[in-house]
Symmetry: C2
Subunit: 337 residues, 2 copies
Amino acid sequence: MAGGNPQVVLKRQRDGVPVPEDFSFIDGPMPAPGPGQILVRNIYLSLDMFVRKAMRGDHYGYDILKPGDVIHGNNVARVIRSNHADYKPGDVIVVESGWQHYAAVEASKVVAFVDPMLAPLSTAVGALGMPGLTAWASVTHLIQPTLGSTFVVSAAAGPVGAVTGQLAKRAGARVVGIAGSAEKCQLVTRTYGFDACVNYKQADWEDQLKAACPDGIDGYHDNVGGTMLQAVCKQFNLYATVALCGRPNDYNAGGFTGIQMGPFIGKRARVKGLVVYDYYGDRDTFLSVAGPLVREGALKVKEDHVSGLENAIPHFIKLMKGENIGKAIVAVGPEKA
Amino acid sequence: MAGGNPQVVLKRQRDGVPVPEDFSFIDGPMPAPGPGQILVRNIYLSLDMFVRKAMRGDHYGYDILKPGDVIHGNNVARVIRSNHADYKPGDVIVVESGWQHYAAVEASKVVAFVDPMLAPLSTAVGALGMPGLTAWASVTHLIQPTLGSTFVVSAAAGPVGAVTGQLAKRAGARVVGIAGSAEKCQLVTRTYGFDACVNYKQADWEDQLKAACPDGIDGYHDNVGGTMLQAVCKQFNLYATVALCGRPNDYNAGGFTGIQMGPFIGKRARVKGLVVYDYYGDRDTFLSVAGPLVREGALKVKEDHVSGLENAIPHFIKLMKGENIGKAIVAVGPEKA
């Protein structure tokens, strides 16, 4: 079997935070596009929390990976050859093309076209990609914070949280983040411009949150779930709105934390599940709002880049341990053809 | 201490389903109204699930009962004497006046005036009282079922569930109840006119629910919580709306069942806590809708009456065991002055 296509594949299925031994870095075969398929060269891999779930087949639309399967990846890529009328060589797209250099994919795996003039290419899987679209849907469709209301975001230093808070701030809310280190909290307040940020790893973080929200909490974008959701609820005002968006604490664990609904009834909370796929049809509207903000630097973006496909493995493990700062990106190919 | 005022008082605090030994039936002192107070004669006691929580001080606005304290009760009563300008002898009111014949109460304990011409007096604590107002708030404010949508109600034979389903039906929904016996299911379909009712005590009740909701579930009025809420969620359509209204299974237990939020995110559910006190200001609007329907027999009401204050004890235990059928009422005094 001829090589020429470096790949990261699954070595073994295992619960818990991934370790390097769960993966193999191999030289795979160069793919050939079949009828209707597209050959792409990956440029930037997006590392996302949901990939951990997808590896186990627990995420919508993903089959469980078997040993030897390429790890799922949502990437910025360039079209090299095309047997599909909608795509031509040179097009830059966001595509489900896995952790490898080259992939031959069906057109159904293409998420979107990327306008290379709009902003740096890697933002197409970050602030202007799925994380940004998630944030926009939460602020403009689910929570709809009002002027002067208090809006809280967990995982505030992450790619979804950072954009969610910045958009809520632009909508006139007082925005308070929750993050997992002093360094992340600094990023959240100094770079992203949140009004405050609480480090949940400090024992008195609930008191700090209360102090940071003197008028109570009106909107909560929940990227975490579990005990943090339960704790934040204590500070809700009546009729607080909650967007349930992710449960990364649960992705490694396998088990899930049950939520006591009594306090949510007491607060007359409005709890709304958010699944970003519902908003793919609104991508142009989102980009018309967020694209100029990113280009002008009004919406701040911090990315955590490494280079080289083999570095996807430690970079992903760092992400799943909550140790990264900013959107995790792996540069695996040239930006220009 | 002079007698003349039969009372049911707490004998001991205890977890679990109440037993007769938790109560004492005594001859208490005849109360005298102080300045600003009203002396009332109770006519109908309303027995409600929340009283179990209130006895323990777990319900909003209620202090924990000590041995010797009169059991909390929301009653239809007549004003006998009044030291308050807003009330005069002969007025019929709904009032927090406890399980006893007579009470001297502050005006703040009065919930509402009752129009004796509107409908049978006991409906003022049932279909036209707090249970009916709860049902109306759920249908007209929280869930807002649309024509042809599928609406499910748990504890469907109970005073809240029965009215909720009948109002949702009038709003054009297909209405499916969940109840705990074949007899209750018969009441729900034959008397209350629901399209179907599922007995959750049958092992295959989830399959029965699925069969009864061939187009999935769009709205769910949850009177139960816990594992039933989790099970019903499986049949939700995307964007299903849920009103969380009660957790009677939890009231006896002390412990609370945690809810897994993952399936609710997957269904993009809209979960809304319902607290009826928020809608007391809408009582006239509610009565203008429901009053004529009850009077004309278009909104069916089934009440489970016993007579004599001492019978409040077994009647309440029956309610907490889920063995009663229809709104539990205790007649303790004459309808006419």
